[in-house]
């Protein structure tokens, strides 16, 4: 048994199978996240990374397998229920509300979980000074990097216990990639557990505690890199070859 499947984890997924009508994508994925741990999912396009993430957040219903979060079974529950338990996702397409202001987007992030909304929002604005300047701006008028910040900020408004990030650096200019990396590092410092899907291996390895490599819907490699850095070349080889 892989060590990350031991008890006292925040989230434990076992034997996840999922897909779409007529096409299975995940073939028995095991995955665990400990409190305050950052796990990165690596893999080629179509290897099932996003599907794995969407299965955890409830957008894809697993065909088989179990997902336990803080001891409760959540596999197959609808997204809004999973959200209310503290698993918050930032999706690849960001899925913001384009015709609402930055502030409204953020406030809606706290709609379902409640809490001190004003304080939360101020906290987000402190972390993202760029957003504070534009708090009354419509989101659709912002650049991709700024929108990504809004998306992450909106997720933080939901006071996540586990944050799922789907390609946070995807399609962004290098300046923003750096900024996003810094933000994720800051979140890690705040001890927020995360599962991150990332194509940018350098970025991924710089923030990961552990990584998993998915290939055709199966985990082919898992490694803890807290002990020592992994060989980037090696990883690229095992992803694509």
């Amino acid at each position: 048994m892989p060590e990350d499947l031991l008890p006292n984890q925040l989230l434990t997924a076992r034997g996840l199978e999922a897909g779409y009508p007529g096409k299975q994508i995940l073939f028995g994925v095991d995955l665990a996240v400990a409190p305050a741990e950052v796990v990165v999912l690596l893999g080629a396009n179509g290897s099932g990374k996003s599907t794995a993430l969407n299965t955890l957040s409830g957008f894809v219903r697993p065909w088989a397998g179990s997902i336990r979060f803080e001891g409760a079974e959540i596999a197959g529950r609808p997204p809004h229920r999973i959200f209310r338990r503290g698993i918050v996702q930032v999706s690849q397409a960001r899925d913001l509300f384009p015709d609402l202001t930055v502030e409204d987007n953020l406030r809606l992030g706290a709609w379902a979980r409640g809490g001190a909304v004003d304080a939360l929002a101020e906290d987000v604005f402190r972390s993202f000074p760029r957003l504070a300047e534009r708090r009354r701006q419509m989101v659709r008028l912002m650049s991709g990097g700024e929108q990504q910040m809004v998306a992450i900020g909106r997720a933080l408004m939901g006071r996540p216990k586990l944050l799922l990030l789907d390609e946070p650096s995807g399609g962004l200019a290098p300046v923003f990639v750096k900024e996003i990396a810094a933000i994720i590092a800051e979140l890690k410092r705040r001890a927020i557990a995360m599962v991150i899907v990332e194509q940018n291996i350098k970025l991924a390895l710089s923030i990961a505690d552990r990584f998993l490599i998915l290939r055709d819907g199966r985990v082919t490699q898992r490694q803890d890199i807290r002990a020592g850095a992994a060989d980037e070349q090696d990883i690229v080889r095992s992803i694509y070859l």
Partner: protein, 291 residues
């Protein structure tokens, strides 16, 4: 001559208020779910008959109205939950057809019960008429106008000022985004579908104040509601109202000065012309066009 023109405009506005109300209720459903309910006309009709039944069973008008709205709310909620939700991810055509079929069945049910006779809803107030200069107003006109304007104000506040309005706009803009912030989109759709049905029912009751009840009364107004929405811009609340008013006035003016045979097609002509020339309508920010 001016007197006639003024009268036509005033009557046009009065009729337009009804179209506006139907369009408003459709807009609420559309804004919340991004699905156009092609069976909405039959909710309008069902609302009128529901209140008719409650009044007939001896209830005073106000509680009967309230009960009717509640019934239609529950009916809208129920049909969305049981019939629309399972196919919500399917092709748009299935959604349109499902709404049409629900409406058709409701109409069939109403026809079974009331199809072979003409009935009317008793007004809860005394009908009166006044002359303002050369122009005639009736109590009906005032009641309907007051109701529609109040409703517009309330909806405008709800949509643009309250947190619920922000929520409605959010779900309209991105359903997945809404789900990502923990909103139960399906339940929300159900509630809003119900709200649309209840508002449509209110429209039906107002309509029933001035015309006899008929199982087809909703279908007759549906296309006019569509025309009003198209003209005003899909999804726009004040657009729906202004579109309805313009349609009402146009019908009267075309009918009187050109020929009454044009009254029936004013709505169709408006729909076609607007979508060809300016698809976003008068006030729609959301272009009506998607490729």
């Amino acid at each position: 001559m001016l007197a006639v023109f003024l009268q036509l405009v005033v009557s046009g506005v009065a009729t337009g208020m009804l179209y506006a109300l139907v369009a408003l209720s459709m807009t609420v459903g559309y804004r919340a779910t991004t699905v156009v309910n092609f069976g909405h006309g039959d909710m309008v009709m069902a609302g009128a008959y529901a209140v008719f039944v409650f009044v007939g069973s001896g209830l005073p008008f106000a509680p009967a109205l309230l009960l009717g709205l509640v019934v239609l709310f529950l009916f809208g909620l129920g049909t969305q939950r049981v019939l629309m939700r399972p196919i919500i991810a399917g092709p748009h055509l299935s959604l349109a057809m499902m709404a049409l079929a629900i409406g058709y069945a409701v109409r069939g049910g109403a026809r079974l019960e009331w199809g072979s006779e003409v009935t009317t809803l008793q007004r809860p107030y005394a009908q009166d008429a006044w002359m303002v200069g050369p122009v005639v107003f009736t109590t009906d006109d005032l009641v309907i106008a007051t109701f529609v304007i109040l409703l517009l104000l309330v909806l405008f506040l709800v949509f643009n000022v309250t947190p619920v309005g922000r929520l409605i706009r959010a779900v309209f803009q991105s359903q997945r985004g809404a789900a990502l912030v923990g909103i139960d989109v399906h339940a929300f759709h159900g509630v809003m579908w119900g709200a649309g049905a209840a508002l449509g029912a209110a429209g039906g009751v107002l309509l029933a104040l001035i015309v006899p009840l008929s199982p087809d009364m909703g279908v007759w107004t549906l296309l006019r509601g569509f025309a009003a929405m198209t003209l005003g811009g899909f999804g726009s609340l004040h657009g729906a109202v202004i579109g309805g008013l313009i349609l009402g006035v146009m019908e009267k003016l075309l009918g009187f000065y050109l020929s009454t045979v044009f009254i029936d097609i004013t709505a169709y002509l408006i729909t076609i012309l607007v979508l060809l020339i300016r698809p976003s309508g008068l006030f729609g920010r959301q272009a009506a066009v998607r490729v």
